[in-house]
């Protein structure tokens, strides 16, 4: 596929000098107009992949085509059709938001006659109209991210790369950004490649999700399909008395396989088991609980099933393993 708005990656590898393989032979394809969620813990290789796809970093091996253009051989063409908001907003603290938009529009060759109107429109859209003439050094983290998004949209890109766009945002700003991304796809047909470590974000926004761990894609599909793959729900129990933990685990163990990595006592239920059966069994043993919850499979369950770790656990692991490519 080399569709005008699509992304196609084959065998992509990126090695850092004296470092590990941050990206280790990934294949993926994103259809035009699709929102593709790239999910994984810190250091999994998400940002490195984005850097390669946006021509910021050359691949060590493999090929990648963005909008039909090869990222190595046709870098200028790729850059002219993509918009990028990186994990850390690349802003000049001494410039105002309006200055940034003017600069971005100039760099992207937006016709002079359109620049002012386009800047006003975007400032309004991201809620920065009132702060447009203030220097960025006084902006909050959320304001910087919103400006970064506006900058990525200046030249009406066909493909948008958002690298952890909601990290550090308050819930209200996060929801607003999700709505904006959904609107871009719905109304403008923009293809969105979104990296995130938030399960909810991938679940809400993405048509398809690729889960990356240690530089490799371990699962790919629509959030619903991935969860269906895991299939069965799980039951999570919090004991009233910690001393009952083992007994509760023994009882729950009769109804499914234990989920060792979770903080409560939990099992993935076998086919045909209902919550009522479990409650009766616990009651018969005289065990009391603080909470008992039946959970449908989540993307974290998918991650757990594919990697043997929870996404949260993997993130903590990445923090104590700084040698891995964390770009």
């Amino acid at each position: 596929m080399s569709a005008a708005n699509g992304i196609e990656v084959v065998g992509l590898v990126r090695e850092y000098r004296k470092g590990p393989r941050a990206v280790d032979g990934i294949d993926l394809s994103v259809a035009p107009g699709e929102i593709y969620g790239f999910l994984g813990p810190n250091g999994a290789g998400k940002s490195t992949t984005v850097h390669v796809l946006t021509t910021l970093l050359p691949p060590t091996a493999g090929t990648a085509r963005v909008g039909g253009f090869d990222v190595v051989k046709e870098g200028p063409k790729v850059r002219s059709i993509i918009g990028v908001a990186l994990q850390e907003a690349a802003l000049d603290p001494l410039l105002t938001a309006r200055d940034h938009l003017r600069l971005q529009a100039t760099l992207q060759s937006v016709p002079k006659s359109e620049r002012r109107a386009r800047a006003d429109e975007l400032l309004e859209r991201v809620g920065l109209a009132d702060a447009a003439d203030r220097k960025v050094q006084g902006y909050s983290g959320g304001m910087k991210r919103r400006l970064d998004l506006a900058l990525a949209l200046v030249h009406r890109p066909r493909i948008l790369f958002l690298d952890e766009p909601t990290t550090g945002l308050d819930p209200q700003s996060r929801t607003a950004l999700w709505e904006e991304v959904a609107r871009l796809r719905r109304e403008d047909g923009v293809t969105v490649f979104l990296t995130t470590q938030y399960l909810e974000e991938a679940d809400v926004l993405a048509d398809r999700v690729g889960i990356i761990d240690h530089g490799r894609i371990v699962a790919e599909g629509s959030p619903a399909a991935l969860k269906d793959e895991i299939g069965r729900p799980s039951v999570h129990a919090i004991p009233c008395d910690e001393r009952d933990r083992e007994a509760i685990a023994r009882v729950l163990g009769r109804f499914g396989e234990p989920l060792g990595s979770t903080r409560d006592v939990a099992v993935r239920l076998r086919e045909g088991v209902g919550l009522a059966d479990i409650v009766r069994a616990l009651d018969a043993e005289g065990l009391t609980l603080l909470d008992l919850e039946l959970r449908a499979p989540t993307l974290d369950d998918v991650f757990l099933a594919k990697t043997g770790r929870t996404l949260e656990g993997a993130a903590e692991e990445a923090e104590v393993e700084p040698g891995r490519g964390g770009v």
Binding site: A90, Q104, T106
Partner: protein, 256 residues
């Protein structure tokens, strides 16, 4: 056209920052003025040394050095800005937005020239106000400023090459020190003929000496080895231009 948009965008942003933030512009303007007043004023008696032969006087003699020094350091200071942009991450925005990345390097070069032009104008006004005599005609004056412009490009392209290889402001001494040494191992206070010992030997092979003599000749209206000086400045300009573009490739390979 797209490349020009990148050049003009980068230059506009760099100049806007310089013109609206005194902490950026003032040092590049004040240092040359300080050097000029200190050298031309405080050392004016040097012109009475036997064998010192420069008809327009010591003020003009020093003016040429300070003009070339301001040009070189104006370029180097712009290189500092390039390094800061890479260190702070802003360069990523430029690399991602610019279809043609060579325009980024040239945009900073245009900004360096703009910054130096402001300093040069101020320096010239001050020099004329304190009574600098100019023996050369309009062509000589154009020659002097063109030569200084080439020195500005050399200083900038040299520093930009370092900045893009190291991508940190900590590389600033590496950008500045060689330029500082080359400038001050030239006949700064007296003509080459009055220098003695190892300094004379070093100054004789220092390319800046050649440019300085031509520049001073322009002010005196009797410029020696004009073609050689321009050829030398152009050759170094091309060399450092290549050096800076290789630096850009190095930054691209490292992912900025």
């Amino acid at each position: 056209m797209r490349r020009w948009n990148v050049v003009s965008g980068v230059a506009w942003r760099t100049l806007k920052n310089a013109l609206t933030n005194p902490q950026i512009l003032l040092p590049t303007m004040l240092f040359p003025l300080f050097f000029f007043t200190a050298f031309a004023g405080g050392l004016s008696q040097v012109s009475k040394v036997p064998g010192f032969d420069f008809p327009p006087g010591y003020t003009a003699f020093q003016f040429v050095f300070v003009l070339l020094q301001a040009a070189a350091f104006g370029g180097v200071f712009t290189g500092f800005g390039v390094a800061r942009d890479f260190e702070g991450g802003f360069a990523k925005r430029l690399l991602l937005a610019a279809p043609h990345r060579s325009g980024i390097v040239l945009g900073y070069a245009l900004a360096a020239l703009g910054r130096w032009a402001i300093t040069a104008a101020l320096l010239t006004v001050v020099a004329l106000l304190v009574g600098m005599e100019v023996g050369g005609g309009a062509v000589d004056v154009v020659g002097l400023y063109t030569l200084a412009m080439l020195v500005n490009f050399c200083g900038y392209f040299w520093a930009a090459g370092i900045a893009m290889r190291f991508r940190t402001i900590q590389a600033a001494p590496l950008m500045q020190m060689p330029v500082f040494l080359v400038l001050f191992f030239a006949p700064v206070y007296v003509p080459l003929s009055l220098l003695e010992g190892w300094l004379r030997t070093v100054a004789s092979v220092n390319p800046i000496t050649y440019l300085l003599e031509t520049g001073r000749g322009f002010v005196a209206g009797d410029a020696p080895h004009v073609l050689g000086a321009f050829a030398l400045a152009l050759a170094f300009g091309c060399l450092f231009w290549l050096w800076s573009f290789r630096g850009l490739r190095s930054a691209e390979a490292a992912g900025a």
